[in-house]
Each structure stands twice: as C-alpha cells, then as structure tokens.
Amino acid sequence: MTTNAFLQYCLTGISIGGIYALIAIGYTMVYGILRLINFAHGDIFMMAAYFMIFSMVNFTLPWYVSIVIVIGATIILGVVIEKLAYKPLRSAPRMSIMISAIGVSYFLQNVATYLFSALPKPYPAIGFLTKIISFGGISTSVVTFITPILTLGFVFILIQLINHTKIGMAMRAVSKDFETSQLMGIKINRVISFTFVIGCFLAAIGSILYFTPRPSVYPLAGSLPGLKCFIAAVFGGIGSVPGAVLGGFIIGLSETFIKAAGYSEFSDVFTFILLIVILLIKPTGLFGEKITEKV
C-alpha cells in the first residue's frame, strides 16, 4: 500500500467513523438517561433520509432549506416516539420498554415501506457536498473531508453542553437518579425529551453525511448502520459520549481497511466479532462505568 493510498483510506475510514460516531452518541445518551437501547434509532436515521428526498425532490426546496427541514422533522419524530412509546412505560420493567423500542423499529421500517415502497429511491445530491477536491495527492469529495471536522465540532459542543451548562448538569443528575432529580425541581420529562432532541439532531446530520455519497435509500437502510453504531456505543462503553465517538472511529477505520485489503464481505462480520470480544474481555466497554441499576 502506498502512502497516498494509506492516507486516502485513513480519510475514508475517519469519515465513515465520524458518521458512526454521530449516530452512536444517540444510542449512548438515551441509554445513559433511560437505560434503554433505542432500537429505533437506526430507523430514525433512515427516516431522515426520506425526509430529505421529500423536501428536495417532492417539494423541490433548496438544499439549505431542506437541511433545516430534515433536522426539524427528525427531531420531532424522535421526541414523538419517546412520548408515545417510551414515556408511558417509565415505571414498567426495563424489558417492556426495550420491546417497545423493537416494535417502533419495525413500525418505522414498515411505514417507510408502505409510504415509499421497498424499492430504493435515489438520494438527492447536495451540490457542493459532492464536489471533488484534491490536496497532497489525495482526492476526495467535500463530504468525506468535512464529516470528521463536523463530527469533532459537534462532539466538542456537546461535551461543553453536558459539562458546563445547567441543562447538562440536569442530564447528568437525571442519568443517576430520577427521584432525587425531581426533588431538585428538575422536570425529568423535559430532560429526557432534550436528550432525544440531541440524539435525533446528530442522527439527522449523520444521515445527510451518510447518504450523500450513496446512491439510494430504502426502508431497511438504517438497520445495519444502526446496529454498527450500537456496537460502537457498546464498544466505547454505553453511556459514555467520548466512548461512543471513539467506538465509531474505530469501527469506521477498521471496516475501511478490511475492505481495502480485499475482504469486503468480511467487514461487517468483523464489527460483530469486535462486539463479542469486548463483551468477553471488558463488558462495560472502553470507557464504561460499572452499570448501576437505577431505582
């Protein structure tokens, strides 16, 4: 492998890893606050892609308006799912809410199939994102180049928000203790909704970055990426934002290099091996805390 090829693969890997990181944050934050694996998260990511098709193709809105619409619609979708499918189960056994999440996942896939058919639909091209740029012997599309930068920017802002704002403090408190948080005057439902807002915002961004260089969207397009990002979150230590980011980058990079080495079919298998290995060696993941049962 030449240096140039190596750098090229690094960039590709970091780029897809950045997208995985953005989605993995949604899994890890919802888990942190509700101890729920939001199985529907990958499908929310898929729905965001259809929102883009709707906006740009069906309504022929310009890309900058469409991005705002996609973000807004994805956030509304996530928050409504939480209110309808998870909130009523707040005091039910944990297994019930997990099953509800699986139900929502299938529901979204089937709604998408019903509304848009199972046939792949072309994803609209956002002009400037698909331009090819070259530097230092590497040539790449703008989207591949800006993805890691955007990811790190959002992660930085998110970590500041969690550690240095009042709502961030409330999120940390609610993630440890619902009852005592309520005694402080915190409205936990608002904090939970806010967590979904963040997760869905990042999933919407991730969706735009993920589908832009890909030809099409179909109703199951969110399930494999969703699963990989869930694994990224578990690998990094579910509940930990830096863990999810690191997990996303590791999976993105390894997948790219495995493909580069000519084992494309093996790349997804590798992700699952990674999951099994981490669960055997360090079940709490790289940065995970000991899992505390919340009362």
Partner: protein, 237 residues
Amino acid sequence: MSNILEIKNLVVSYGGIEAVKGIQMAVPEGEIVTLIGANGAGKSTTLKSISGLVKPKQASILYKGKEIVGQSPDFIVSQGITLVPEGRRVFPNLTVMENLKIGAYLRKDSLKDDLEYVFTLFPRLREREWQMAGTLSGGEQQMLAVGRALMSRPKVIMMDEPSLGLAPLVVKDIFNIIQTINKEGITVLLIEQNANMALKIAHKAYVIETGTITMEGTGAELLANEKIKQAYLGKTK
C-alpha cells in the same frame, strides 16, 4: 402559632397494599416536628407524598392553607418545601459545588449568599468544593444533602433519617445543624429511628406504627412516656 403544613386523612397504597392508612399531622410554622417509627411504618411514604413523589390514594395536604395534593414535585419545591431523602442521595457524578447548585435548580437569582451560608454551616464542604460527591464520606454526604436542600431557600425542610448509618459524633453535628437551621426560621419535619435524639430537639412529635399514628405530644412528653421508652428508646422498666 399557625400550621404551615397540615396533613389530613393521608392514605397511600402500593399496588393494593396500604402503607399509610389515613394519618393526620399538623406542623406548626417555625417548629421542629418529628415523626418516629420502626422500619416499614410508613415514614418515608408520608414525606414522599408531601413532596409529590408518591401520589396518595386519598389525602388533603394543606401548605399555608392551600391544597398541594396532586401537584408535581417541582411545583412543591418551588413553593418552599424540600426533602432531604433517606440515604442522602447526593449525585455521585457531580462535584460538591454542582450538587449545591442543582439544589437551587429552580432559582434564577444569585446563589452567592446561599453558597456562603452553606459553606459557613459546613466548612468541610468548602474544602471539597471540586471533589466528586461520590468520594465523600457518609457524614460529608449527609452535610451535602442538607446543604443542597437549603439551596432552594426552603420554608419547610423535611429530613428522612439523617442520622442513619453515621458515627455518633457526626450524628450530634447533624442534630446541632438541624437546630441551627430551625433557629433561622425554617420549619423542620424530621423522621427518625433514632427516637432519643429526635424527641430531645422536637417541639412536637408523632409516633407512626404500620401506617397509623398511634401517639402524639410534645417531644418531652413522649420522651417521658413508658411505652415509648420500651418500644423506641431501648429502655426496660
């Protein structure tokens, strides 16, 4: 003196089993009132009902003459009733300073004077301002839990077994602080299994047994009562 808090006919059941069976209590403004009783008698349930954490099956809870049953916990805190929960429940993943600030979550004014006040009451907390609350000792966590509650500027502070699991010297400190806070004009509703200490500082006391109030009187009266001596003070005739 008028009652800042009046509880009438409070009934709470958990899945069909009645934990509190229609109790009456009155808390006069500015006093220390204690509710003593054995484990499982329904003490915590009573406080949680006042805080809005538990929805009673039936009750009237008047705060300054206004009905507060059915209100949300954040409304009740905003009105000036705070609870120091059983087992301290500080946020282990927040610093001491953040724990204090989160106690004032609903306030929008400056916290400077209140922080100063809490640090004067508990100088050890000032030294540990940046430490994670989870690394504090049990006594320090109790101090933090009380300080956190004070940050909401309460008119009524309810404490659920503050002495539980603490060394005798620390317990003494905590009880001194309770009296200090009370002298500043804050009404205290204190739950204790440590009946001896609680009755000594209480103006008024209630005894709860399996969800029913079985006795009430001044702290001194109950302290002198033979039945109480046997059942709660570990003294034999």
